[in-house]
């Protein structure tokens, strides 16, 4: 029977986000969440009473709030409504989107609001991520989500100069995109001619992973409204249709790349992409998609993951970067929003990918709108020890 046809279609009819920043002392958690909720309602022209159900998500230990949806009801607007709280890891935002899609498609709820947020300045982020590991073993060793293993791999495969340049070029392109996004947390105004200098001078974190190449720690929230086809058509001029989503997790392991070609490691990104593309009949994803909002925690990973997600071979992924095809006006724009390296409120980050992809499809991304029609969008989430969620959005209901 495999994957079945959706019970009914689901459209995104509103998105909202806060400014992402390391300085949100001006709001507490529910207040910050409410900014995004209000923005999504305004975007959709709905009122809180139009929402049937709310899905809330983040990670408790980043802010040290137990069952945070209880307090956050002050900002989520869930009072008197159906409410779920579903989380995964860094993927949680993408999971919220999947959950909202499922809840609407099931016929149980017509209009669902998904809310992802994190106030990372209220806790210690790297410490929080390190707490993810088994307390008896790996928690004593690891350094949050930081690893130089991907940099090492790319350097080994393509040589130091080409690898470092590709990673830094990706980084500068993301900064150029972030400069166009008023919500972005970090937008430095980096120039391409600074690359050599940055490669040389940006402080190192782990191995060849440099501070400039790693994502930020942000405060921020994102809210997205999903509605059934019938409601979406009634309530919105331009709903963005959620075609499909797929989640692939891994066991808790920190061996996320192989040391020996005889023993290949299955990459969750590749696996998720294969499953999603196969069941939706997509043979050439680079050709098919008009934008990819990728959860890119560091430029090294981003460069490497392009190959995984697009099922590319050899150095095709490097060429996409080197030829600047991933820029906003390129063949396959990656993260016109500036991506995760620019803004990373973890519980919202993966939902922001979906929200930004939806804005691109609608043509409402403002200064960072891709300068040609966007019909097919892909959004990814990343978390845990190499977990993946992929979501496909469409402009037309014609698949």
């Amino acid at each position: 029977m495999a994957h079945r046809k959706k019970n009914r279609n689901v459209g995104i009819i509103g998105v909202g986000q806060t400014k992402h920043s390391s300085h949100r002392e001006d709001v507490n958690q529910p207040e910050m969440i409410h900014e995004a909720v209000r923005a999504a309602l305004d975007d959709s022209g709905l009122k809180l009473e139009d929402i049937d159900c709310i899905v809330h998500g983040n990670m408790e230990l980043f802010e040290m709030v137990f069952m945070p949806d209880l307090w956050h009801v002050l900002g989520t607007g869930a009072y008197g409504k159906s409410q779920f709280r579903i989380t995964t890891g860094g993927t949680v935002g993408a999971t919220l989107s999947c959950a909202a899609d499922n809840l609407v498609a099931s016929g149980m709820y017509d209009v669902v609001l998904a809310i992802g947020f994190e106030k990372l300045q209220e806790g210690h982020t790297t410490g929080g991520i390190t707490n993810m590991a088994d307390p008896l073993w790996f928690r004593n060793l690891q350094t949050g989500a930081l690893t130089g293993s991907t940099a090492y791999n790319i350097i080994r495969e393509f040589g130091e100069e080409r690898a470092k340049k590709a990673s830094m070029l990706y980084r500068v392109i993301m900064d150029k995109h972030a400069m166009l996004n008023p919500y972005a947390h970090r937008a430095f105004g980096l120039e391409f001619d600074q690359m050599d200098d940055l490669i040389k001078n940006s402080p190192k974190l782990v191995g060849d992973l440099k501070l400039i190449e790693m994502c930020s720690q942000s405060d921020g929230a994102c809210a997205v409204i999903y509605a059934s086809e019938e409601k979406a058509k009634k309530l919105s001029q331009n709903p963005v249709w959620v075609r499909d989503h797929v989640t692939v997790h891994r066991e808790e392991t920190f061996c996320i790349f192989g040391y020996d070609e005889k023993y290949p490691v299955t990459m969750t990104h590749t696996e998720a992409a294969k499953r999603l593309f196969e069941r939706n009949g997509i043979t050439d994803p680079v050709e098919y998609f008009d934008v990819f909002e990728m959860y890119d925690p560091a430029s090294w990973w981003a460069v490497d993951w392009l190959r995984d997600f697009f099922l590319l071979e050899g150095d095709e992924h490097l060429k996409l970067v080197e030829n600047r095809e991933i820029m906003i006006d390129g063949k396959i724009p990656i993260n016109p929003s500036g991506g995760v390296i620019a803004s990373n409120p973890i519980g919202a980050t993966a939902l922001l990918r979906v929200a930004e992809a939806a804005l691109q499809v609608r043509g409402d991304a403002g200064a960072h709108q891709i300068p040609r029609e966007v019909k097919h969008a892909l959004a990814s989430g990343f978390g845990g020890t190499m977990w993946t969620v992929l979501t496909m959005l469409e402009k037309e209901l014609n698949w």
């Binding site: 507490n28 137990f66 949806d69 869930a78 066991e251």
Partner: protein, 381 residues
Amino acid sequence: MGKRVAICAVSQIKNDGDYWYLRFQNMLLPCLEAILEQTGVTFDLDKGIRDIITCSDDVYDARTISNNGVTDVVGAHLRGEEKMAQEAINGLGYAMASILSGHDDVVLFMGHCKETQTESRLMNTNLAFDPFYSRPLGLDFINANAFQAREYQDKSGLTDEHLAKIVVRSRENAKKNPYARENELVTVQDVMKSSMIADPIRELHLYPVTDWAFGMLLCCEERAYEFTDNPVWITGFGNCMDSYFLGDRDLTSNFSLKRAAQRAYEMAGIKDPKKDFDVVELMDSFAYQLPLWAEGVGIVDEGKGAEWIDGKGADDQNVNLSGGMLNGNPIILGGVARALECVLQLRGEAGKSQVKGAKRALAHGCYGAAGQHQAVVVLEK
């Protein structure tokens, strides 16, 4: 809607006061194996389990992304996995949605909680409150509930003796349940003499610290009989969130529970909850909550909880024959444990507690101070 989702199998380990010798991975693995054995389900990408729903809590596990630690023992390697980060009974609603949406036809649902791992569940539940006002005041899920208990006593005439009777009954019922936590039988006098924790809540009025894990296999209607001859159907689900500050709420009005129940009843076509259920399982973390929630789900008239206890209404209506949460399930799993007991009843596998010919059951779960968030599930044979 008329659509329904099957529960094809359930599994659990015994509720225990201290599984100090087991990691939670060790607690989940037998639950997984039991499901696979009962149903023959596989993890085949076409025909088997593609997506898993888990339930656990980061604060109780003291792990960021608590589900990260269980991916192997719930079979989630290279499969989808999503965690209910709230009372697990809501996972049944979400699993229902995942299946009815068409996204999944088979969903494995597993959860664990080891309350014994933490130094103090009061310190944990204190963290549920905002850090500026309620948390420094020292609120936790016991003293916050004491406000509700006191108000409900005033409203319904529930006495210390009523509360004691509820505890005595819970422990007696639990003795018939092989998976229940092993507790001493107590007398009304024992309960009334137990120490006062947060007036009017006494030590024996609250559920004991417990470790537990469970598993369930859910499936779409079309394929249910591939995995069992005896499916139990989820026909209704509803949940609801109340406001946060205790002072903003009418603590005995059952605002969110009534709405949750109404949503579930509407979906399942329940007209008269007093008559329509053969078995009812309520998540009574505290003794006073049994009659209060009974009012909320509409099997007892408003404010008549004390009379209901006097008249042995709970026995007549087959409420919490399992012993209930009061006998011991861990936090976040008390509601799903209720649903699991209902499944056993409807399958005719409830042993000494079996209600003959049980056809329809109600399971309830909640979390938060004074039951801020409420959920109700209707299950049918």
